[in-house]
């Protein structure tokens, strides 16, 4: 059963986007992937409206105190196995917010990360490459 799921995952990853205390730049770039110029749907990558349908979480931001409980809930709700892909430098190491009283990330303190896509913001091509690389690890 697990093999079938992984086969399905590689063929057409359904992705849920989680933004936790981000500046929205990475989030907009993620949505850019759907627009005609990049059009990731031709790779089968589809953005879904609920973590319950997701194979992969695209996460952004440094996570702050208010958004952390929500991040954890979303992860709980996502069926396993799932990929967790950090988009943007904020997800790698808290970036310039590391000394803030309110930033409690990065994500790998709480979730098992499958891939990191650094950049501020990463170019859409880098995001696609990152997702593809994460898929190939399976």
């Amino acid at each position: 059963m697990k093999d079938v799921r992984i086969w399905g995952l590689k063929r057409s990853p359904w992705v849920y986007h989680v933004a936790a205390a981000s500046c929205n730049n990475c989030d907009i770039e993620i949505l850019e992937l759907l627009t005609p110029r990049y059009d990731v749907e031709r790779f089968g990558i589809v953005l879904v409206g609920s973590p319950r349908h997701a194979d992969a979480l695209l996460v952004t931001g440094v996570i702050n105190r208010k958004s952390l409980p929500r991040v954890l809930e979303v992860y709980e709700q996502t069926p396993k196995p799932c990929l967790v892909i950090g988009v943007g430098t904020c997800t790698c190491n808290n970036h310039i917010f590391r000394n803030s009283y309110n930033a409690v990330g990065p994500y790998d303190k709480y979730l098992p990360m499958s891939a990191y896509i650094p950049g501020c913001p990463p170019k859409p091509e880098a995001m696609i490459l990152g997702v593809v690389k994460a898929l190939s690890k399976l």
Binding site: S12, Y16, H17, V18, A19, A20, A21, S22, C23, N24, N25, C26, D27, I28, E29, L31, E32, L34, T35, P36, R37, V46, L47, V48, G49, S50, P51, R52, H53, G61, V62, N64, K66, S67, P69, R70, E73, V74, Q77, H95, I96, F97, N99, S100, Y101, N102, A103, C120, P121, K123
Partner: protein, 398 residues
């Protein structure tokens, strides 16, 4: 194959931001309804609070523009610009003339891409996904120009105290002009398509009205203010950089509804194109940076007109290399608060659009939910669907 395709299509939901299915935690926009009418709005901030004002005093004046750039990814140039204007105000200096023109060009390019982004989102909110795809496709030309002249599609690091960080070369100018030509052509086409469509008019006209009195009481700024008849624009009222050197005008409309807000933004794109062309025509040669010897003890205020309205920065200096205090106020801080009055009396199908009409930061609209008698009635996702349904009903009318 076709079954697979259609089932994928029906399961494909493209949200504006993640809609959280759980209901227990505080929502960003919490609407209360009676029947199909919104009677109250509660707003919960804090999901993006990262403590910029706390971090700022630890950085030097050269570093701070990089920090404030990342307050918002869409108004990414406005914050560093207002910040360096505050530093220059404290120092009592003006930027190098060529640098001033470059700053103006970058700022207006940002306005174009931000307004196109909003037009796309508004289209999505009322179920016109073609508008969304078009607007974001044309936006790409502007982002390519940014990448060419600053090295990045977003977060341009274009501003520094005393001028601009990078020059625009002669070779780049024809490409900039070409991108402006496309943007102008497509905006005119989009404007006609959007504003002349009777269904879109029916969705936007008279919806989510913010009266002039309310706009003044909440001190809203930007297109939100100008669409309610409040004639303010920092670029004209307290000009900086090249704004008083080139001809342009400020669109103001009295109706205060979502239609007026959309129209103001579309007209502003055309004005931004005018400003950039004017700057390219008149841009002087010379250095792009003026010398800054150090920031004396004192205070400085810098403000500029971001796509969403006035961005305000205040600096207090003790003469050292770091500020004693750095205050940042983004335009959405004023505008989102006004939703409390704008959305009251709205029908539930119009609520999502009304909340988005002030052009809040993308993440802000991600959590919306609707309660009646204390019980959850609709999630944000369902709210969007109600909006799409209304459009379909209007389309069906003879």
């Amino acid at each position: 194959m076709s079954d697979e395709a259609s089932s994928t299509k029906s399961r494909r939901i493209v949200p504006i931001g993640p809609y959280h299915p759980l209901q227990e935690e505080p929502e960003f926009f919490k609407l209360t309804v009676e029947g199909e009418t919104v009677v109250d709005l509660e707003i919960n901030l804090g999901y993006n609070h990262r403590g910029h004002e706390f971090i700022s005093p630890e950085l030097t004046y050269d570093q701070i523009p990089f920090l404030v750039e990342r307050i918002c990814g869409i108004c990414s140039n406005s914050h560093p610009l207002a910040c360096v204007l505050a530093i220059e105000d404290c120092c009592g200096i003006k930027p190098a003339p060529r640098g001033a023109y470059i700053r103006t060009i970058v700022q207006e390019l940002e306005r174009i891409h931000s307004h196109l982004l909003w037009v796309g989102l508004a289209g999505h909110f009322i179920g016109y996904n073609t508008v969304w795809m078009w607007a974001w496709r044309y936006r790409e030309h502007i982002l390519q120009v940014f990448e060419m002249i600053t090295g990045n599609r977003n977060h341009y690091a274009a501003n520094k105290p005393g001028g601009a960080r990078r020059d625009i070369t002669k070779e780049q100018i024809p490409e900039i002009r070409a991108a402006l030509d496309i943007a102008e052509k497509k905006t005119v086409m989009l404007t006609k398509a959007v504003l002349d469509d009777p269904v879109i008019r029916a969705r936007l006209v008279g919806v989510g009205v913010l009266t002039r009195e309310q706009a003044l009481a909440y001190a809203v700024v930007g297109p939100t203010a100008r669409a309610s008849g409040v004639d303010i624009d920092v670029r004209r009222d307290d000009p900086h950089d090249a704004y008083s050197d080139v001809p342009w005008s400020v669109p103001v409309l009295p109706e205060g509804d979502v239609f007026a807000k959309a129209k103001v933004r579309l007209l502003e794109i055309i004005e931004s194109i005018r400003i950039i062309r004017g700057c390219l025509d008149k841009m002087p040669d010379g250095p792009i940076q003026a010398r800054v010897e150090g920031v004396p003890p004192g205070e400085g205020i810098g403000h500029t007109e971001a796509p969403r309205g006035e961005v305000f920065h205040y600096i207090r200096s003790d003469g050292s290399n770091r500020p004693l205090r750095h205050k940042v106020r983004a335009p959405s801080f004023m505008n989102i608060a006004s939703n409390v009055v704008a959305v009251k009396g709205c029908s539930i199908a119009d609520a999502a659009l009304t909340l988005a009409a002030v052009d809040p930061c993308y993440c802000c609209t991600e959590r919306t939910s609707v309660f009646e008698d204390g019980k959850l009635k609709y999630t944000g996702k369902e709210l969007l669907r109600l909006s799409w349904q209304k459009t379909e009903q209007l389309r069906g009318k003879p």
